[in-house]
């Protein structure tokens, strides 16, 4: 009798256990499903919004614009998500271009606000998560680019910079901070020589040697002084960005090559050149990155627009 009771108890507990596990497995499955797709409703809400507006019917032009913008942005967000999944990384972007909905006539360039947003995003990326940084810019404020480059270099995991078309001047500086640069055969970097009052720093300094000093204007001498300090900073920063990727001597040479004023600031530094000076360059970009640019209407807009 007691034995049977024991058996019953044993079997009962066993069955209870199995049922509990099954139930739990089902709930966790359900919960994990729900947790995984919080982004989907957001996207659909965005797509739905312009339609609501369209019903107003009053400002059809504006609504068309909004709808197009919403669609393009949703498409880009989707691409970025897919890219993140595909590469198991956090994808950040610094893309300066004119958008169909931009207005005004200012050229977009790197500004302090860019670095603040990107520094935040880098901070929010877990240290063990690799970063893919898509960059497309003509340069801008050197100080802002310095901050981004430093933050990328301090990131603990691998940082890959992707240059689908161009990253000039201070954009190149940001590329130097990466562990790996992904480029196409056709994409270019550029020298990182500082500009002083829109003049190349090294040529401002050179004038001191070419002209008797009493005939040079006070202003030019002051510029030369600024140029000297800026060039020194640029060289030191490049060297520091490269120091753990190559020998100190080579890093110094690269810094000299890129910031020493030996080439015009518009000189394209192609994949082959970048590789030749010792940068870790990989040819070819993921299709998704190129698709990201298919959504851009080049020259379609008039101004400044930023996406992070």
């Amino acid at each position: 009798m007691a034995g049977e009771l024991d058996t019953l108890l044993g079997v009962g507990v066993l069955v209870l256990g199995i049922v509990a596990v099954c139930l739990n497995a089902l709930t966790s499955l359900y919960v994990s499903r729900r947790l995984q797709s919080p982004t989907q409703p957001a996207a659909s809400v965005q797509e739905a919004e312009p339609e609501d507006e369209e019903e107003d019917g009053d400002q059809e032009d504006a609504d068309d614009g909004t709808q197009m913008k919403e669609q393009i942005l949703a498409r880009r967000a989707q691409l970025i998500r897919e890219l993140e999944e595909e590469r198991g990384s956090r994808v950040l972007q610094l893309i300066h271009r004119k958008e169909p909905w931009s207005a005004g006539d200012e050229e977009p360039e790197i500004v302090l606000e860019d670095s603040e947003v990107i520094l935040q995003q880098i901070r929010e990326t877990p240290p063990d998560k690799p970063i893919d940084f898509i960059i497309h810019t003509e340069g801008g404020l050197a100080f802002a680019a310095d901050l981004i480059a430093m933050a990328l270099r301090y990131h603990k995991s691998k940082v890959t910079v992707m240059v689908p078309f161009y990253a000039l001047s201070d954009g190149t500086l940001i590329c130097l901070s990466a562990d790996e640069i992904m480029m196409e055969k056709t994409s270019i970097l550029a020298p990182v020589e500082p500009l002083v009052d829109d003049m190349p720093a090294n040529w401002v300094m050179a004038i001191l040697k070419r002209k008797p000093i009493e005939t040079i204007s006070d202003r030019t001498i002051l510029f030369a002084e600024t140029a000297r300090m800026e060039t020194e900073n640029a060289k030191e920063l490049v060297k520091w960005l490269l120091i753990d990727k190559m020998s100190e001597e080579q890093a110094t040479q690269v810094a000299n090559f890129l910031a020493g004023g030996y080439m015009a600031s518009s000189t394209p530094i192609t994949l082959d050149v970048a590789r030749a000076i010792g940068l870790n360059v990989v040819e070819g970009l993921p299709d998704k990155v190129m698709q990201l640019f298919e959504t851009i209407d080049f020259g379609g807009g008039k101004v400044d627009s930023r996406q992070y």
């Binding site: 034995g3 024991d6 058996t7 108890l9 044993g10 507990v13 066993l14 069955v15 209870l16 256990g17 199995i18 509990a20 596990v21 739990n24 497995a25 709930t27 966790s28 919960v31 947790l35 919080p38 982004t39 957001a42 809400v45 965005q46 919004e49 312009p50 909004t66 913008k69 967000a77 970025i80 993140e84 994808v91 950040l92 005004g104 606000e113 947003v117 520094l119 935040q120 929010e124 050197a142 100080f143 310095d146 901050l147 430093m150 933050a151 301090y154 000093i213 009493e214 006070d218 202003r219 001498i221 002051l222 002084e225 600024t226 300090m229 020194e232 900073n233 627009s305 930023r306 992070y308």
Partner: protein, 311 residues
């Protein structure tokens, strides 16, 4: 006997399974909680956490729905974050953040002005016995104002921690030197504090003017530049002795003098980043790490992509 053993093993197995399922449910509850917390934060910040960030920059439509747009709402949002930070750290939190706001006039670049002194001095005066966290984010600005605030920081009886989440250049660096402790991240920067002189040719470092007078024959320099260069030398002396005074009691005198020389004499460009490592090498009391709430605070500011007033 045999059967009994079987029972016990069944019993154990059963309990084992129950234990496993209990663990599982704890894990699930934890996951749900995290998600809920995440969702709440997302709501608060008005932007999805795991997002690629593309949504963040949509100014008109989606942000307008989620982000507070009126000045009062933004300030209230900011206030609640600051109060959270105060609770977390047990300090009085003061901010001097020079960023464009939604209500900033077009063309206006926020920087240190004489009005800032009123706020900072009053706030410090109000909390004589409480440690203060001063969040600094500024490109610099009016030197006298920065010096006044630096003095107030130095004279504050309780501990003053300056937090530099991104950058505090020029006058902001001067204020940082006055603090008991500077908190930075690896990527945040201070800058040199050498005086800048407004000349007819534009703003130039006093050190560069001195070089001009030294390198060019004096008869070929304009009168005005010579006068400004001489006045600039006095400014450098001022800045140097001020930095030395700020560092008094924090390091030996000779070291303070070297640091003051390095930062105030204009050897380097005014935009040279002085990182955490450099600041530490100079002998400043720098601690790495800035609370997340400080960065949360920055999300309440209009980033680019948001339309500023008039633009």
């Amino acid at each position: 006997m045999k059967e009994n053993q079987l029972d016990i093993s069944e019993l154990l197995l059963g309990f084992g399974l129950i234990a496993v399922s209990a663990l599982n449910s704890i894990a699930v509850v934890y996951a749900v909680r995290r998600q809920k917390k995440g969702a709440a934060e997302t709501k608060e910040r008005a932007e999805p956490e795991e997002e690629t960030g593309v949504e963040e920059a949509q100014p008109e439509v989606s942000s307008a729905v989620k982000r507070p747009t009126s000045k009062a709402d933004i300030l209230a949002w900011r206030r609640s974050i600051i109060e959270g930070l105060e609770r977390e750290r047990g300090t009085k939190v003061i901010t001097m953040i020079h960023k464009k706001e939604l209500w900033t006039e077009p063309g206006e670049e926020p920087e240190i002005g004489i009005e800032d002194t009123t706020k900072i001095l009053m706030e410090l005066r109000r909390t004589p016995d409480k440690p203060v966290d001063l969040i600094l984010h500024t490109p610099g600005g009016f030197a006298v104002a920065a010096q006044m605030m630096a003095m107030a920081i130095k004279f504050h009886p309780a501990k003053v921690t300056v937090m530099v989440p991104f950058y505090a250049m020029s006058g902001g660096s001067l204020m940082s030197l006055a603090a008991t402790e500077i908190r930075m991240e690896k990527y945040s920067v201070l800058g040199p504090v050498d005086p800048q002189v407004p000349t007819p040719e534009g703003m130039y470092p006093a050190g560069s003017l001195a070089t001009l007078v030294k390198t060019k024959p004096i008869q070929s320099i304009t009168d005005r530049m010579i006068i400004l260069a001489d006045a600039g030398n006095l400014e450098i002396e001022n800045a140097k002795s001020f930095v030395m005074w700020l560092l008094e009691g924090k390091m030996p005198k000779e070291q303070a003098e070297r640091v003051a020389d390095f930062l105030a004499k204009g050897y380097m460009s005014h935009a040279t980043p002085i990182t955490l490592d450099v600041a530490r090498a100079l002998g400043l009391n720098v601690v790495e790490g800035i609370p997340d709430k400080v960065y949360e605070l920055f999300k309440t500011f209009a980033f680019t992509g948001q339309s500023y007033k008039g633009s």
